[in-house]
């Protein structure tokens, strides 16, 4: 005997999470096309690490393993992390980041639903603080690399740290466009001059902008299937665009055009996949607006003035902290009591 309601919608947590994974596929496919298959190795490593650590933690915490392992949430953490770090990185980098995210940020906080921070972003933050050197070797887009590494050579590097004879890692990798922009600006070049460098494409970085479009397509799929709502992505991208536009208009030699901000780094990935993580975002509409706008502001500030190349991950973590407060202050008035509450 159970009590009403006796019917529920067929939506389940694992189905929602599965849709998020599906939505990441177009971006991943474009990634492989432009930068080679090394990313698939990272994704696989991260996935295995996530599932294993998840299972171990569930066991240690005396939780049923099957329903949680099949909820797909660990895989999302794994994929987001793998997509946030360089594909051509030693194997242990992605393993350490993923494990840290799952063990500390997720399970030590009480597991699914109770984690204050986005586990993937915690993993990313730990890596960039602990291993900054490894985190800057991004594979060059294939059309730019003078001699691309074959997949076998990539594997050899990932697992054994060995490169083909007499070549340096720098021959195949480069700083990200956001990073390049920042360093070159420091060197006194104008935005215009920097934008003419070959690593930049039409909108953002060459290749990167195409991958971002892939993530946007996935994001639209999530919107259409109502896995996420439009508030966070649109407010985030809109605010980022607006702030970047204001700075750009005020001083175009030092601040890039707003579209560059949207299509560089992890802005699109963040807008649709990271900031929309329900667990770390506010539950009220008003709260979501504040949260997304705040995240956009922080992203811009970190990118323009901070020490890290991209601000998406840190903005996410900083906003995660504010969520309980935002929720508390934006609780809407209940039916019939409008005006009665603050």
């Amino acid at each position: 005997m159970w009590s009403s309601p006796f019917i529920t919608t067929p939506t389940s947590v694992s189905q929602i999470m599965l849709r998020v994974l599906i939505a990441l596929i177009p971006g991943i496919a474009l990634y492989v096309w432009y930068f080679g298959a090394a990313i698939l190795v990272s994704l696989a490593l991260a996935s295995i690490t996530a599932l294993v650590t998840e299972a171990v933690m569930l066991k240690l915490r005396n939780r049923p393993i099957k329903p949680f392992l099949s909820d797909n949430s660990a895989l999302i953490t794994a994929w987001l992390l793998a997509l946030s770090i360089p594909a051509l990185a030693p194997w242990w980098l992605v393993v350490v980041g993923t494990a840290f995210g799952i063990v500390v940020a997720k399970h030590l906080y009480g597991g699914l639903g109770n984690n204050l921070f986005n586990p993937a972003m915690i993993g990313y933050a730990v890596l960039i603080i602990s291993f900054p050197g490894h985190m800057t070797h991004w594979i060059s887009p294939q059309e730019l690399a003078s001699t691309g590494l074959s997949f076998a050579e990539q594997l050899n590097y990932i697992f054994n740290g060995v490169l083909p004879a007499a070549s340096a890692l720098d021959a195949y990798t480069m700083a990200t466009p956001l990073d390049t922009l920042k360093t070159q600006l420091h060197l006194g070049l104008s935005v215009e001059a920097i934008r003419d460098m070959p690593i930049f494409g039409y909108l953002g970085g060459k290749g990167g902008e195409i991958v971002a479009i892939g993530f946007a397509i996935g994001g639209i799929y999530l919107l259409l299937t109502r896995v996420i709502n439009w508030v966070i992505p649109s407010v985030y991208l809109g605010t980022l665009f607006a702030i970047a536009a204001i700075f750009h208009l005020a001083d175009p030699t030092h601040y890039v055009a707003p579209l560059f901000h949207l299509f560089s780094g992890a802005a699109i990935l963040g807008a649709f996949f990271i900031y929309t993580d329900p667990i770390g975002s506010p539950t009220t509409r008003k709260g979501q607006i504040i949260y997304a706008a705040g995240a956009a502001l922080l992203t811009f500030l970190i990118r323009a003035f901070g020490g890290f190349p991209d601000g998406v991950a840190f903005a996410a973590l900083l906003m995660n902290i504010c969520v309980p407060l935002i929720d508390a202050y934006t609780t809407p008035a209940v039916f019939g009591k409008k005006g009665a509450r603050k």
Binding site: P5, I7, L112, T331, F335
Partner: protein, 574 residues
Amino acid sequence: MRPLFKFHGGVHPPTHKVESTRTPIARAALPSKLVIPLHQHVGNRAVPTVQVGERVLKGQIIGRPEGRLSSAVHASTSGTVSAIDMQVVAHFSGLPDLCVTLIPDGKDEWFPHSGVDYKQTAHSELRQRLRDAGIVGLGGAVFPSDMKSYSHKHKIKTLVLNGAECEPYITCDDLLMRERARDILRGAEVLRELLYAEEVLIGIEDNKPEAIAAMRQAVLDDGHGHMEVIAVPTLYPGGGAKQLIRVLTGIEVAAGVRSTEMGVQCFNVATAYCAWRAITFGEPLLARIVTVTGNVERAQNFEVLLGTPVEELVAQAGAKPDTYKHIMGGPMMGVDLPSASVGVTKATNCIIEAAQSAFPPPEPAMPCIRCARCADVCPAELQPQDLYWFAKSKDFGKTQEFSLFDCIECGACAYVCPSHIPLVQYYRFAKSEIWQREKEQQAAELARERHDFRQQRIEREKQEKAERLAQKERAALAAKPPAPAPLPVAAPAADLDNTLQMRVDADIARSNMQMRIDAAAARAKEQATAEQPKNTDALTPQQQAEIAEIEARRAKFHEIASHSGADDESPKHS
């Protein structure tokens, strides 16, 4: 076109209404026995007026109303009383209640009865007739209608007639409106008179075009000038009294506020129909329309004598063997019947025979992922995920801060929750815990007060010997509490007439009664405490049943808590 208003949220569960609307209302066969509970309404249980072995006639009172908030219960047909005892009733607690069992003699012989012309009759008499005829809200809330048809305190502008019928599967009001629209409207006219209301707005969800057409035709045919039939969008729980009032008038009746204070009163269409029959023909409420649907050969509506065992009723619709539960009411707010042998009551608007295929057992609950889907659909504009969190961590103060008692238990939140958390169960649990604690607190207060009172008396006895007698009398009066009105937890609120509102109404009625009784003895003192009747020491069987029920629910809650083991424990908001 009248502008309509919106309420927040709502869901669109599959309606499954077509199945039971293909054939007209059929008269259910006379059952082998009738098990008639004496407590089918909000308020005090009716007191049996017949003996075992006595022959009763159709329409004869077998339970008389007790106290102000109560209603009469009648013999649904002629026959012999075979038992007056505790039986399992159609209530989710699964607890027994006092029932009169009647063996029909097949003659269907009427008790002498006659009606009146409402236009020629005093309002007080009309209300008395409603009460004696056992007329209560038939949408499922079963609140005595006589208590809802006053208007002396507030001016009522609008009478809302609820024909929305938003719950899936249920079609009894739909069919009633299609077939008996004129009597419904005549009843509404009587209620309008009683309330001195200016207009009658009849809200029907737009998935019932036949009913809308029939009602509109009836308005024209009988020239009801003050009435308007309004098609409202199909959106669950648009048939909740508060939601319908909001849609039709734009008025939001907050929890704990009576709609009459805002100039609106709401009755269900079937209630209006029965009120008309009761006033004009003197026919008490003996039968009601029940939708029998789900896992049956021929889903349809029956006119069923109250007390008809559910199993005999569903058999007439061709019950299929793989039914594993019987749901009374709709799938969103209904009650899983403790047994198929219970009698149909005034609250029984629908019986859904449930098979595993259409009603699979709930999936194990996962932790809340804070997706806010529940908040998006909550018509009371609550934050169900927060309420759940606090209810689960037994932080009842916080649940109240987050307006737990504004929850109408519509189930929309649990319907959409991807983690399959039985949210409403948590809210019911929290509510009953809070009521229980209040009761305990009242008991403690009572004990303390009595102590103080006794001290006072001893003191005074020393000083004023002459007045001793009078004071003793006062103490005796103060110590004897009036019969308590039960909490409307007992009402299976299949229609969404807000249970909380009923509770408030009950409270007010109870307070009024107490004030009258106590006025002579200790007016000043009693007025201060009128809101909290001190009655926890003299528990009636009704109250004991309630406490037992709460205990049962607690046990059930613990069961849920342990089954939903997938769920997690560590607090986040702290």
